[in-house]
């Protein structure tokens, strides 16, 4: 009897351990495979030059540039919007109000919408409606910004990552002790001053964590930008908000599915995937560095 109990216990211990090992294994295989196949083709030339028109030769610099630009614009759009929404929800709105309930419900649903639907939504709302309207109103109907471009692609990604930022920010705001708010109110703080001097400084690192998650998500996603601005091949870099752009994610997709000679583009494909991984880690790492710097600064004052 006791022997059986011991055997069952050992079995389940190894089962849970195996599950953890599997996670490591999957990550190891993905990273390992990409590293082994992607490394040989990698060179300074590869990351600093443009691809040839048949995609089998040349580099991927425009895609790196496009990815970074896209994610930066997305971050600039989503962080202020998400933080403002979370501050309103948590600090201003009455917690029992219908509006708060509705916004929370909307956020949950937004988080569950498939990425490709966001892509179509971005095409309809941003490219056609916003862009089209701006063209009609400001440019006399001349096609200027009413087309797929980096601004609308970044906007679509911002909508996609909005729930992440709002939820992370709310989490951070909730962690600020009620005591602190009361102390500030008792010092004659207005609601805005409580937010500005007490709540936001205390929650900045949690807010940045939300930003980091959004960056991770935005760097690699292809579906939302498919119709809203990503280009198959561009001879020049985007310099204006209404330019199209290349990204590493989309470039990977194109290399896989659209290449005339799959075998010839394989090394390029692997190296592109490797660069995409490295870039995602690098953007994350940069955000983590900024966060710890701000944390240190806050601790000193």
């Amino acid at each position: 009897m006791t022997r059986w109990i011991k055997i069952i216990a050992a079995f389940f211990t190894s089962l849970t351990g195996l599950a953890c090992f599997l996670i490591l294994l999957i990550l190891g295989v993905i990273v390992g495979d990409i590293l082994v196949h992607g490394w040989p083709h990698l060179s300074w030339e590869f990351v600093s030059t443009a691809p040839s028109a048949d995609l089998a030769h040349g580099g991927i610099f425009p895609a790196i540039f496009g990815t970074v630009a896209l994610v930066l614009i997305m971050t600039i759009l989503v962080v202020p919007l998400g933080v403002a929404a979370a501050v309103y929800l948590h600090e201003y709105a009455r917690q029992d109000s219908k509006l708060v309930h509705l916004v929370r419900l909307a956020l949950q649903n937004l988080a569950g919408v498939p990425a490709i639907v966001f892509g179509l939504f971005g095409l309809g709302l941003f490219v056609r409606f916003c862009g089209g309207s701006i063209d009609d109103l400001l440019f006399g109907g001349k096609l200027t910004i009413g087309q797929p471009c980096i601004l609308w692609a970044a906007s679509t990604l911002a909508v996609l990552t909005l729930p992440t930022v709002v939820v992370a920010t709310e989490e951070a705001l909730r962690a600020v002790p009620r005591n602190y708010r009361e102390a500030a109110y008792a010092m004659g703080a207005t609601r805005w001053q409580v937010v500005r001097y007490v709540v936001l400084p205390q929650s900045v690192s949690g807010i940045l964590t939300g930003g980091i998650l959004a960056i991770s998500r935005g760097t690699g996603d292809v579906a939302p930008i498919l119709f809203t601005g990503a280009a198959y091949y561009l001879a020049h870099l985007p310099t204006k908000l209404n330019d199209q752009f290349m990204t590493l994610g989309y470039h990977t997709y194109v290399l896989t599915t659209q290449s005339p000679d799959v075998e010839a583009t394989k090394p390029v494909l692997y190296s592109t995937a490797l660069v995409l991984l490295v870039l995602t880690f690098a953007l994350n790492f940069a955000a983590v560095l900024i966060r710890s710097k701000i944390r240190r600064k806050l601790r000193q004052t």
Binding site: Q95, N179, E182, A186, M187, G188, Y197, T301
Partner: protein, 249 residues
């Protein structure tokens, strides 16, 4: 003498639960009013009604009148932020904000838009709170690194930075050692010449030591209020006597 604060049949509820019932009371300039009574008797509700901190509680409602210099606080269009600067509050648990001692002290004036002459005011407030000698060489240190007693005196100094007319103290010594308690009591005696103090305390002896007048609250009602010596030696009500002599509470 005209009262600074005057309550007339003031009642308060949290939701349906009554917290104060028909309290009528005047608070006079430059006195220390001790407020005693068992837990749940309405002392804190009374205190937090005065600077309208109870507005932050969702289901709070009140009836009757509360006048501050003859201004009806709950019915006139007053600026609540300004009111809370005139009636400064110190909480039971010390709440230093993260940041340096200087940051804590400068925050109030900064938020009020009157941050001139800060250094001198910081020294003055810290001296008045009997903390200056202990921290004068380390004003840039984190306020959280201070001891509990020092933190509470910092909170007192932080409130004094607002140059309030009335100090509302909610059991300010409840978690403090006897030495820190003595320092705060000493500070209050000295402050009396400039401000009016309302001191809610669970420690009956503290009221007898520092209060000029003492009010006894029980189950949301003001049982009696009078000169401290009279309340302690010859109270009108038997319950007051029972509470003071430690028979309940």
């Amino acid at each position: 003498m005209k009262p600074i604060l005057k309550l007339d049949r003031f009642s308060a509820w949290y939701g349906d639960a009554p917290a104060l019932r028909d309290v009528s009371l005047g608070v006079y300039p430059n006195e220390i009013l001790g407020v005693i009574g068992p837990a749940g008797g309405g002392k804190t509700t009374f205190l937090r009604s005065l600077n309208r901190m109870n507005d932050l509680v969702l289901n709070f409602r009140m009836d009757g009148t509360l006048a501050y210099h003859a201004i009806d606080l709950y019915r006139s269009a007053i600026d609540i932020a300004t009111l809370r600067r005139r009636l400064g509050m110190v909480f039971a648990v010390p709440v230093p904000l993260p940041g340096s001692i200087t940051h804590n002290l400068a925050l109030g004036p900064r938020m009020g838009g009157a941050a001139d002459d800060l250094q001198a005011r910081i020294e003055k407030s810290l001296r008045a709170a009997y903390l200056w000698e202990e921290v004068k060489d380390r004003l840039d240190l984190s306020a959280l690194s201070l001891s509990g007693g020092q933190q509470q005196r910092l909170c007192l100094a932080r409130t004094l930075m607002l140059e309030p007319e009335v100090l509302l103290l909610d059991e300010p010594c409840s978690g403090l050692d006897p030495i820190s308690t003595a320092k705060i009591e000493e500070a209050l005696q000295a402050l009396k010449k400039d401000v009016t103090v309302i001191l809610v305390t669970n420690n009956v002896m503290q009221a007898s030591r520092v209060a000029d007048r003492t009010a006894f609250f029980l189950q949301g009602k003001l049982v009696e209020v009078g000169p401290t010596s009279q309340i302690f030696v010859n109270p009108k009500e038997k319950v007051t006597h029972d509470y003071i002599s430690g028979r309940f509470g």
